[in-house]
């Protein structure tokens, strides 16, 4: 009991210092949890993409250069039987937002006749598929986007595209994709976009990129090469890669999120180590006489080190708990659970990430106490007592 009392009272003898140290650990741990949640989300998103056996065909020079609309038929001609190359879907990204609302959207126009086969993970019902095929203004909205904007099936919504035709486009929600893994993306008929562009004076029809659904991994590998060979030495050469590589490149080019967030997390954790180490060093210096007296009484150096380590562990554990539990509760049990990261996924703060963060806090505590604990273990009682006289 006295051991606990001693630990507790040492920690509370300077409450402001203890509080600030906990905060200095909690904040980086919270940043670590959020950053790693995004990175994990990106990785899950990419892993999911890898499972879809899809190829992405973009312009060889850059993703921002569109491809000719006629490429779809040429790609389809590589497997007229549709046994290996199951479907080809032309896609245009228009981003967009709702007028008067700053929140960005991830809106894509897709060839409506091949969308369902190319993206089966949306698991649309037969009724939804019928609606999708029937209405050229049909739009499928991700579940999280629907929650954020309060959309429901049957609603009419107007989106202002970020790309041509730059004029409001009206849609009718035909599904909120409750079974889809991607909760953010909005899909509509690309043909509707083509018509809107023509009306606005954009005559030439081009396609942003193509997604191709293959029957097997072997087919994926085969067509990845075959498609680029088909368009070699043309004005619009292609770059074909599997969906994971395409998404990874897209994310990296746009934000380089995983790398930057990992760096951010590492830097903040390093700052936490510095802050906690500073506190533990000050605690050691402030109590030099006390620790020297304990050693004179017969407390071994390792025991005194353990006292310092235990104090550091307690401080960092409290900070770590606050830093990990805060985002977990906020993003799982409050309205923040609908918070989304643009182009990636819903921010899914998982218990496993929080667990890793707690281990990180323990690591911070060990590193923070390393120097004062080493000094304590090697402390010369005579010198320590003399320095105080």
């Amino acid at each position: 009991m006295l051991r606990l009392a001693y630990l507790y009272r040492n920690l509370t003898r300077n409450p402001m210092r203890a509080l600030l140290t906990c905060a200095a650990v909690a904040l980086p741990i919270a940043i670590y949890v959020l950053s790693m949640s995004v990175v994990d989300g990106v990785n899950r998103f990419l892993d999911n993409s890898a499972r879809q056996l899809r190829l992405a065909v973009t312009h060889r020079s850059s993703i921002i250069n569109p491809l000719p609309a006629g490429y779809r038929a040429k790609i389809e001609s590589l497997d007229p039987t549709r046994t290996r190359l199951l479907s080809v879907c032309g896609i245009d990204w228009i981003g967009g937002k709702i007028e008067g609302d700053p929140r960005p959207l991830s809106t894509l126009g897709a060839d409506h006749d091949t969308f369902v086969q190319t993206f089966p993970e949306y698991r649309l019902t037969p009724e939804e598929i019928a609606e999708w095929n029937r209405d050229r203004r049909a739009i499928i909205v991700g579940a999280a986007a629907a929650r954020q904007f309060g959309w429901k099936v049957g609603d009419r919504i107007t989106i202002l595209p970020s790309l041509p035709p730059y004029q409001p486009m009206e849609f009718r929600v035909i599904s909120t994709a409750p079974r889809a893994e991607d909760p953010l993306t909005l899909w509509f008929h690309r043909q509707y976009l083509v018509e809107a562009r023509k009306q606005a004076g954009w005559e030439e029809e081009r396609v942003g990129f193509y997604f191709i659904k293959c029957a097997s991994q072997a087919d994926l590998d085969h067509f990845r090469v075959a498609i680029d060979e088909l368009f070699a030495n043309t004005p619009d050469e292609t770059k074909t890669q599997d969906e994971k590589a395409f998404m990874n490149e897209f994310i990296t080019q746009q934000f380089n999120l995983p790398r930057n967030l990992t760096i951010l997390a590492a830097v903040t954790v390093f700052v936490a180590v510095m802050a906690a180490a500073n506190t533990m060093s000050m605690n050691f210096r402030d109590r030099l006489n006390e620790l020297a007296t304990l050693k004179a009484m017969g407390f071994r150096g390792t025991l005194i080190s353990a006292i310092i380590q235990a104090e550091s562990l307690f401080l960092c554990a409290v900070g770590g708990l606050l830093g990990a539990a805060g985002p977990y509760v906020a993003f799982n049990h409050t309205p923040l659970r609908d918070f989304t990261v643009p182009l990636i996924q819903q921010l899914d703060v998982r218990a496993a990430t929080c667990g890793k963060a707690m281990l990180m806090a323990v690591g911070i505590s060990v590193l923070a106490a390393l120097w004062p604990a080493w000094l304590a273990a090697r402390m010369n009682v005579v010198a320590a007592l003399r320095s105080l006289e």
Partner: protein
């Protein structure tokens, strides 16, 4: 040698500072019989505190032998010295060095954490130690709620709670007024006469030294002279 006699033979202690050799004790011989109460006096730098640290196993001689009871301190490792201190020596410091965030009872209990002892037995020993120093009714007071004299009494209780053979006091009255000093010296005499503790006390105060059985005067690292005292009645003033 019997009991916990303290014997130092040809002890030399040299400190080094920036490659400069600073001799503190120069071939010192000393014997303190078990149950004795010795005061160490001398000018600053004469080696009093160093001698106390050597007897207490806080430091080791550069050469020579230091024996306390059966323990040959000059041969013992740091780890062995630490373990030996916890069982055989109680320290009293000029500035008390109590843990400010713990109560008087908790401060006294601290050394008992090094022993395998049930909490109940620890509390009983703490109660006895604080009763001996006259602070049985101040168990739950923190150091900042006690006077200087009371703090030193708590420090004495902490020094005796493990029932050590030897008590080493480094200027125990140096920070106290005359009346309070006298009370502390009475307490030390009580521990010596009634409980048989061997006490070695460093002091600058001749009146405090006079309350011991004998005073050893050190000068330049050697014993200069010895002074025997007649038994001074308790409460005779410092």
């Amino acid at each position: 040698m019997s009991g916990t006699d303290i014997v130092l033979q040809d002890v030399r202690k040299v400190y080094y500072k920036d490659r400069l050799e600073i001799p503190v004790l120069e071939g010192l011989d000393l014997r303190v019989d078990a149950g004795d109460f010795v005061a160490l006096m001398g000018p600053s730098g004469s080696g009093k505190s160093t001698l106390l640290h050597l007897i207490g196993g806080l430091d080791r001689p550069t050469s020579g032998q230091v024996r306390v009871g059966q323990a040959e301190l000059h041969r013992m490792s740091e780890r062995q010295l630490t373990a030996w201190r916890s069982r055989h020596v109680g320290f009293i410091f000029q500035m008390y060095h109590l843990v400010p965030v713990l109560t008087a009872a908790q401060n006294v209990e601290l050394p008992l954490l090094l022993f395998r002892m049930p909490a109940r037995q620890r509390r009983q020993r703490v109660q006895v130690a604080l009763d001996v120093v006259g602070l049985g009714d101040r168990m739950d007071h923190r150091p900042n709620q006690l006077s200087g004299g009371q703090e030193q009494r708590v420090a004495i209780a902490r020094a005796i709670v493990t029932d050590p053979d030897v008590i080493l006091a480094d200027e125990p009255t140096g920070d106290l007024d005359a009346a309070t000093s006298s009370e502390i010296l009475d307490l030390l005499r009580l521990l010596n006469s009634e409980f048989g503790k061997t006490i070695v006390m460093v002091t600058h105060d001749p009146r405090a030294a006079a309350r011991s059985r004998r005073t050893l005067h050190l000068d330049k690292g050697v014993l200069d002279r010895e002074e025997l005292h007649a038994a001074t009645p308790t409460g005779a003033g410092a």
